[in-house]
């Protein structure tokens, strides 16, 4: 089982004294949502899970192996990360950007093949980007740029998706499109971990939730157990109202 686990993990949030150690067991097919207010450490956790920054204590295990014992290149075929920030300092087209997802599969002298190109094209098509393929990414809108990042990870075809604020900048249609893509990836046997700001997207699309409190406290479990009104109010320090729409809970901030 290609599960992603944390053993006594303490993420390194600067200025935080301590916190609850995370013992997560995330399995393929699950869609984990990470919720928490600004500065709670959502992105830090995601980067720690991807092996991009060291933990203060504890370990991340992927497929029964500590992350430290993976080779970076091998890991790149297993873990894909959608970042919040993009560095478009140099000119690059949408297609070229999607194609970097094939990097982990190619040896130094190898050029991208027609097959790689087809994979990237299909990924762009999935995000309604095919007509923009030859545009420079620096000329795209925020939402289009975000979709290019998702298409790049789709081109990378990892077994685990680590996604930081996937719905940032996106209109409602594309929010739903991305959530259903992630759901589709999960039902195809991938695992998904996503940081979300939108409680209602999380309630609707996630199978599990991890709540990160600003003081380092944390709790996690299946989504239906976690959508506890008082816990969520404490999480965001904001009174909420719960209503039911189409049989699913929706949370609205109270004035």
């Amino acid at each position: 089982m290609a599960s992603l686990e944390t053993h006594e993990l303490l993420i390194d949030v600067p200025g935080r004294a301590a916190g609850r150690c995370l013992d997560l067991q995330m399995k393929p097919g699950e869609r984990w949502g990470v919720l928490g207010p600004n500065g709670a450490g959502k992105t830090t956790l995601l980067h720690t899970l991807a092996g991009l920054r060291p933990a203060r204590a504890g370990e991340v295990w992927l497929d029964q192996r500590a992350l430290a014992r993976w080779r970076r290149r091998e890991l790149a075929r297993w873990l894909g990360v959608v970042f919040q920030e993009h560095h478009d300092d140099f000119p690059a087209t949408v297609m070229e950007t999607a194609m970097i997802g094939r990097h982990p599969y190619l040896s130094p002298w190898q050029r991208e093949s027609g097959e790689d190109l087809a994979i990237a094209r299909e990924a762009l098509r999935r995000f309604d980007l095919d007509h923009l393929a030859s545009r420079l990414v620096s000329t795209l809108s925020g939402g289009e740029r975000q979709r290019v990042s998702l298409a790049t990870v789709l081109t990378q075809a990892p077994r685990w998706w680590l996604v930081d604020e996937p719905t940032n900048h996106l209109d409602l249609h594309h929010q739903v499109a991305i959530m259903s893509l992630l759901e589709e990836q999960a039902s195809a046997g991938c695992g998904v971990v996503m940081c979300l700001h939108d409680l209602n997207l999380a309630a609707r699309w996630c199978s599990h939730l991890l709540l990160l409190y600003p003081d380092g406290e944390a709790c996690w479990g299946p989504v239906e157990e976690m959508l506890e009104l008082t816990a969520l109010e404490r999480l965001y320090d904001q009174p909420l109202t719960r209503v039911e729409v189409e049989g699913a809970p929706v949370f609205v901030p109270r004035r």
Partner: protein
């Protein structure tokens, strides 16, 4: 479109600009050999290169102009290549080897050697040592106790360069008047004392061979360190390699021809505006275009106000700045 066609399309996309640049490089070499105090016709040039021709032409071409034009080509290639690598390293299209204070360190060391009355070889050696020392200082300080970031590195380099600049002014101010022209020429770049071209040409070719298989890795690195790490790149190792190689290239170039500005900044940037940012194309293209630019600039420097010679750095700036601004203005 099937796979085979895509492959062909990909190759053609790379091959045609490079073929064009190679042609330009050859044309620039022919011009450099033909023009000068005595102009040599194309026919006479072919005769000389074929092993015949007049004795005067043979001496001019084979002993004076050819070594110098090849040295100019090699130096320009090194500078442009170093610039392209530095820009990827610092994720900043405006970075160049001189921004990081490399040439400043080399210049201070070279001026000190001149002041001490040392010969050409020792001045060159001193410049090389100065460039490498500046490299180590900048990298060591940028590393510091905290984390290494492109911004921190760029800032450290810029401040070091300013410091070297002040030292250069100081040395010029206290130097005896009769030494000033030589010093100024060195500071503005001069290929008159380049010597054998084989070192620069060899280093340029060898570093291109080292970097070409890493081209795609550099493309990924240009998207930022985290993105590159996620795609399987050993970021720290690549950054060390880029920095050391770019420093070495700059040091060799500065040692050969003094400090020549603008080539490392402008050539890769101009090529990116035209050709995109695939390093597998940009690196060889930079090498060819940098070499061509400096060969042409040096030819102009020799002939424009002959018999007097201008410092080649003046020409690269005079040629480069307007064309750079034009391309920038025209780009999307």
């Amino acid at each position: 479109m099937n796979g085979a066609e895509d492959q062909v399309v990909g190759r053609a996309r790379l091959a045609s600009p490079l073929a064009w640049l190679l042609m330009m490089a050859l044309v620039s070499q022919v011009l450099a050999l033909a023009l000068g105090s005595v102009d040599i016709s194309l026919g006479a040039l072919v005769a000389v290169l074929g092993g015949d021709g007049e004795a005067l032409h043979r001496t001019l071409v084979l002993e004076l102009r050819l070594p110098r034009s090849l040295a100019a080509f090699g130096t320009g290639a090194l500078l442009a290549l170093a610039g392209a690598l530095m820009q990827v390293l610092l994720r900043n299209p405006l970075a160049d080897p001189y921004v990081l204070g490399l040439s400043g360190g080399a210049s201070v060391a070279a001026l000190l050697a001149m002041l001490a009355g040392l010969g050409t070889t020792l001045v060159a050696g001193s410049a090389f040592a100065g460039a490498l020392a500046s490299t180590l200082i900048v990298f060591g300080l940028a590393h510091g106790t905290g984390s290494w970031t492109p911004t921190r590195m760029l800032l450290t380099g810029v401040v070091m360069a300013a410091g070297w600049g002040a030292l250069i002014s100081f040395l010029l101010a206290v130097s005896p008047v009769e030494q000033l022209p030589g010093m100024l020429y060195w500071l503005m770049g001069d290929l008159a004392y380049a010597g054998s071209p084989w070192l620069v040409l060899g280093v340029a070719a060898a570093s291109l061979l080292v970097m070409l298989p890493l081209g795609r890795t550099l493309n990924v690195l240009a998207r930022g360190g985290l993105q590159a790490a996620v795609l399987g790149v050993n970021v720290r190792r690549m950054e060390w390699l880029l920095y050391l190689l770019a420093s070495l290239l700059t040091a060799v170039a500065v040692t050969t021809a003094g400090s020549i500005g603008f080539v490392g900044l402008m050539v890769p940037h101009m090529l990116r505006l035209k050709l995109g940012n695939d390093q597998r194309l940009i690196l060889p293209a930079s090498l060819l275009a940098g070499g061509t630019l400096l060969t042409l600039a040096d030819t102009l420097a020799r002939t424009m106000v002959a018999p007097q010679q201008l410092p080649v750095g003046v020409i690269t700036a005079l040629l480069g700045v307007p064309s750079f601004l034009y391309l920038l203005y025209r780009s999307r």
